[in-house]
């Protein structure tokens, strides 16, 4: 780890200014990802701006729905009674990720900024366009079991590793951010980005912008009964997803009023395709209909050798997750 200086932020605006004015400064909150990456010399900030003393820990009802303060921990959020009751998909997804210790440290805002777990991003002895722009991608012709099959580019096939974000995508959460130019709200689908030819950029925030809260929309409560978060991985617990599916259905008898499906472990961002979800609108909850959704979501998927199995795995996981959701199996 390189040496760095430290400051404790006492206001969002000044913290934002400090990081936007200094390209080598970074924010720290739970620290579970950035400190790990600093120990590997993947991240090398010269200054850390500690956000944890800012008053952004509360989970509160607003006229939009339920607001998660950016500094609420993953554990607090997953076990919050309002989240458990109204957005159980989110609880389930959070508890499918990391370990109890890490969930006690990691914050909701920080979860959005997790960096990829691609082996080559961590291995500073190998080229990686995300870590070192222009150096090349070692994963495309390398060990890419954990890499993406959708929305990849010639410069990067990394995936976003979060479970929480897959549920937030399915629930159509919105993210409130504050930067040097003021506050704005970002739709969850627009928060993260595909790698294109700038894989070093994980999201669409401007330098210095700080996530202050995440809004769970009130209409997301429709999915509190028929939902599931299905996570497929190499161990039964404490492993990143090979493929995960957040499935949520608003049912009228056995007719689907609305469906949401988001995939994790397959792309540079949680993968959603509203056209695929619309295939279920007004339809019966049958295996054949679910297979059509799976085929649509995986349209254009491309494997790179050791991750090609994910294409079929994802299709089957989608059908299974939707079937579980219909049956109320969480």
């Amino acid at each position: 780890m390189n040496s760095f200086s430290y400051t404790r932020a006492d206001a969002v605006e000044t913290a934002s200014r400090e990081v936007s004015n200094n390209q080598t400064a970074q924010f720290v909150a739970g620290g579970t990802n950035i400190l790990d990456l600093m120990k590997y010399n993947v991240e090398r900030p010269t200054r850390l701006v500690d956000l944890t003393r800012l008053p952004l820990k509360e989970i509160e009802d607003t006229d939009k729905g339920l607001r998660l303060g950016a500094l609420a921990t993953n554990a607090t959020t997953a076990y919050d009674e309002r989240v458990e009751e109204r957005y159980p998909l989110l609880s389930k997804a959070i508890l499918a990720g990391a370990s109890a210790q890490l969930r006690n440290m990691a914050t909701d805002g920080g979860n959005l900024f997790q960096r990829t777990r691609c082996y080559y991003f961590y291995d500073t002895a190998t080229p990686c366009n995300k870590r070192e722009p222009g150096s090349g991608c070692s994963a495309i012709n390398g060990y890419n079991r954990v890499c993406g099959i959708l929305g990849t580019s010639e410069s990067c096939i990394a995936t976003h590793p979060s479970d929480m974000c897959v549920a937030l995508a399915a629930l159509k959460a919105t993210v409130n951010v504050t930067g040097t130019e003021g506050e704005r709200t970002v739709e969850f689908a627009d928060f993260h980005r595909l790698p294109g030819n700038e894989p070093e950029r994980d999201n669409n925030l401007k330098p210095g912008e700080i996530v202050t809260s995440i809004d769970l929309p009130a209409d997301g409560e429709r999915f509190a009964k028929n939902f599931t978060y299905l996570k497929l991985r190499d161990r039964a617990s404490y492993a990143f997803a090979l493929v995960s599916v957040a499935a949520a259905l608003d049912l009228d008898g056995d007719t689907i009023k609305e469906a949401r499906v988001a995939l994790g472990g397959v792309a540079h961002k949680p993968w959603r395709k509203p056209e695929a979800e619309d295939l279920l609108k007004g339809q019966k909850a049958t295996k054949e209909n679910f297979e059509r959704v799976a085929a649509s979501l995986l349209e254009g998927a491309k494997g790179f050798g050791s991750n090609t199995f994910k294409i079929e795995l994802a299709k089957r996981a989608i059908v299974r997750a939707l079937t579980m959701a219909v049956n109320g199996q969480h």
Binding site: F4, S5, Y6, G31, K39, A98, S99, A100, S237
Partner: protein, 176 residues
Amino acid sequence: MSTNVTQQPLGDVAVALPPLETITLTINGTQKRLQVAPWTSLLDLLREYLDLTGTKKGCDHGQCGACTVLVNGTRINSCLSLAVMQDGNEITTIEGLAKGDELHPVQEAFIEHDGFQCGYCTPGQICSAVGLINEGKAKTADDIRELMSGNICRCGAYVGIVAAVEQALHKCQPNQ
């Protein structure tokens, strides 16, 4: 009681390093005023500067759980936490669980059920189990397995560990 400890590791260096930060921690019930470099992890502070070597450094990357300690009663990985960020907090390590010669119920249960072989993961397992009991979410052996999955035991003493945690869970009320 207050103890002053200043880190001494920087020595003579050719470049100017960022300044030490002054923090106050309550460690196993004793308040300490400390000066730490910004990059010192809570784990390194405990082991290298406070001689609390019960907390173990395993992977140093948050993957094995050997460094688990309690911060204000909540279990965390001390390797992934900067000491400076813990300013004002209460830290409990394995050294702080027993009351004199009387072991914590989780410690007793680990002995009774042979919940270890080499013992390297044990302080982390025990602190994690105390945290788990405080959280009050585990009801069954399966819950314990899931909620203790952040603590790896290379010897594979899991059967004894789960039995020990199960016994302690039924014996302890939350927050003990």
